[in-house]
Amino acid sequence: MPHPRSLLPRPLSCFIVEDSPIIRHNLSATLEEMLPLQVVGTAEDELGAVQWMRSPGASCDLMVIDIFLKTGTGLEVLRLARQQLPQARLVVLTNYATPDMRRRCSQLGADQVFDKSAELEELLAYCGTLVPPAPA
């Protein structure tokens, strides 16, 4: 199912906050390969994510946020993203997808919470639902 990008109205823009380089790289590649999606930027800690959000013209359709970062925490990124990017879908991807963590993320404005190892398929499926249907 080839999908020439030029034919689509516009690919989903995605920003990834993830401290592991290998996951960051592979997640970007996977999302871009499997979806009409473009990773517009990544950050490895809270400060990098905040700086990007506050930079002029920062905008995206989807933000994938890891909770435990090298410095700072994804929860803070989540809180700020809800204010700065009200139209963006915020997805939390974490190794600590406990009920408590899911509750706290929802309270801070997360749209979805996925377990980093067990729920990758679900993440991809969810992202798929965000792609606007191709024009007839």
């Binding site: 592991s20 290998i22 996951i23 592979n26 997640l27 590649a29 996977t30 390969e33 499997m34 190794n95 600590y96 406990t98 408590d100 963590m101 980093k116 190892s117 067990a118 990758l120 398929e121 991809l124």
Partner: protein, 453 residues
């Protein structure tokens, strides 16, 4: 060496004082006895002298009475004078006999004097008897002539003379005896005074020696107390060192586990996640290109999931992420429910929110973990109760089971887990109590200081 010398000194002093006391008591007794014997001897001698004096006086008087009665009879011819004459005569003889007895032990000159006196008394009495006999025979002239010879008067004078002489002797003896008694009493007095002084000296020595003994004893006790204090301080110091060491080792161990958990989580977790991402990317293409390989892919996903689960379990064992992420209450609930499920025992929890420092929370969690592991390994329990609550400014954590227990006295080096736990709890400023008996189950209780106080 100094205490030993003191002991020898004390012994010497003590023997000396004791001997002195004994000698003083013996001397006092001897002086008293000698004084008593001498005084009583002298006094009975004085009594004898007194009696002799009385008898001498009586003798002279009765001889005079006899003479006077004889003269009365001769003048009046009345028989009324004869009876007193006979009485006086007999009394005089009796007195002589008494004197002989009383002066039996008198010196030889006194004996001689007494012989002389007796001779003159007998001569006087025989003279008067003779005169009376002549008179009664009707030879009044012969009687008068005999009377007029003056023999009677001379004899009477001699009687008086010898009696006075003996009396003087007796008086002199009485004076000497009295002087001796006074000397004896004086000697006795001096002896008692001296011995009293000696006794006082011995008492003083004894008191001084006792004070020295008491002081030496007190010094000894002070030394012992100081030594005990020093040892106690040393023990406390060593215990503190051991506690510090245990805390350091525990901290190092926890740090190491945390590092290992982080590495597993970050590195291995990232690898596994990446592998799953690869599978996700492979899946749609493989479904198109080689659908027959789909089961292999499913199996690969299962293997990866097993790897992820294993990684999680190892990390959780190394470092209870639930504790950091969910807090002590939930972490303990999860630990307990997993344990109950794994071993199929009835586990009751009575867990209330408590305020503990993070390191105390970890200690509490590890304590429950260690206790449950012990129960799993040894106890064969059917019922286990884990409780956590605040009590009088402290947090009380207890794990109680109804298993076979063990003999706490017999636990040697086998259960390092509990020993380590004890140090760990102490390092947090708390106390651990493990009570158990064979067949009575095991009770592990820990008191930890609350965060506030």
């Amino acid at each position: 060496m100094r205490p030993a010398q003191r002991w020898v000194q004390r012994l010497r002093n003590s023997a000396w004082a004791f001997a002195l006391a004994a000698i003083s008591a013996g001397l006092m007794l001897a002086i008293s006895e000698i004084g008593y014997l001498r005084a009583t001897g002298q006094l009975s001698e004085l009594v004898t002298r007194g009696q002799a004096r009385l008898q001498l006086a009586r003798l002279v008087r009765r001889v005079a009475d006899a003479e006077s009665s004889q003269r009365g009879y001769l003048l009046t011819g009345s028989a009324a004078y004869l009876a007193p004459y006979r009485d006086a005569n007999l009394d005089a003889q009796d007195s002589l006999a008494q004197l002989a007895t009383l002066l039996r032990q008198a010196p030889a000159p006194a004996q001689a004097d007494l012989q002389q006196l007796a001779a003159h008394v007998r001569a006087k009495l025989s003279e008067t008897d003779e005169v009376l006999a002549l008179y009664n025979a009707g030879r009044q002239t012969a009687a008068r002539e005999l009377l007029l010879t003056g023999i009677g008067r001379d004899e009477m004078a001699s009687v008086r003379q010898w009696a006075d002489r003996l009396l003087d002797q007796q008086n002199a003896l009485v004076a000497t005896g009295l002087a001796t008694v006074i000397d004896t009493l004086l000697l006795n007095r001096l002896g008692v005074a001296t011995m009293t002084a000696v006794s006082l000296l011995v008492l003083g020595l004894y008191l001084r020696q006792r004070r020295q003994t008491d002081e030496a004893l007190a010094a000894q006790q002070r030394l012992v107390q100081a030594e005990r204090d020093r040892l106690e301080e040393q023990v406390q110091h060593r215990t503190a060192e051991l506690t510090d060491l245990a805390r350091h080792l525990e901290t190092a161990r926890e740090d190491e586990r945390a590092r290992l958990a982080r590495d597993l989580h970050d590195e291995l977790g990232a690898l596994l996640t990446t592998a799953k991402l690869d599978v996700a990317r492979l899946r749609p293409q493989l479904a198109l290109a080689a659908p027959e390989l789909a089961p292999r892919l499913v199996h690969l996903v299962e293997v990866l999931n097993s790897g992820i689960a294993l990684k999680r379990r190892i990390i959780e064992d190394l470092r209870p992420s639930s504790l950091t992420n969910l807090g002590l209450l939930s972490a303990l609930e999860i630990l307990c429910s997993e344990f109950a499920e794994r071993l199929g025992v009835a586990l009751h929890t009575q867990i209330e929110p408590v305020s503990l420092s993070p390191s105390s929370e970890l200690t509490a969690f590890r304590l429950v973990q260690e206790s449950l592991n012990n129960i799993a390994k040894h106890a064969r329990a059917r019922q286990v109760t884990v409780s956590l609550h605040e009590q009088a400014g402290q947090v009380l954590l207890s794990v109680v089971d109804d298993g076979q227990g063990f003999d706490t006295a017999a636990v040697g080096h086998g259960r390092h887990g509990l020993v380590g736990m004890r140090y760990r709890v102490q390092a947090e400023g708390g106390q651990l109590q493990v009570s158990a008996a064979p067949g009575q189950g095991t009770q592990v209780r820990a008191w930890l200081p609350t965060l506030a106080g």
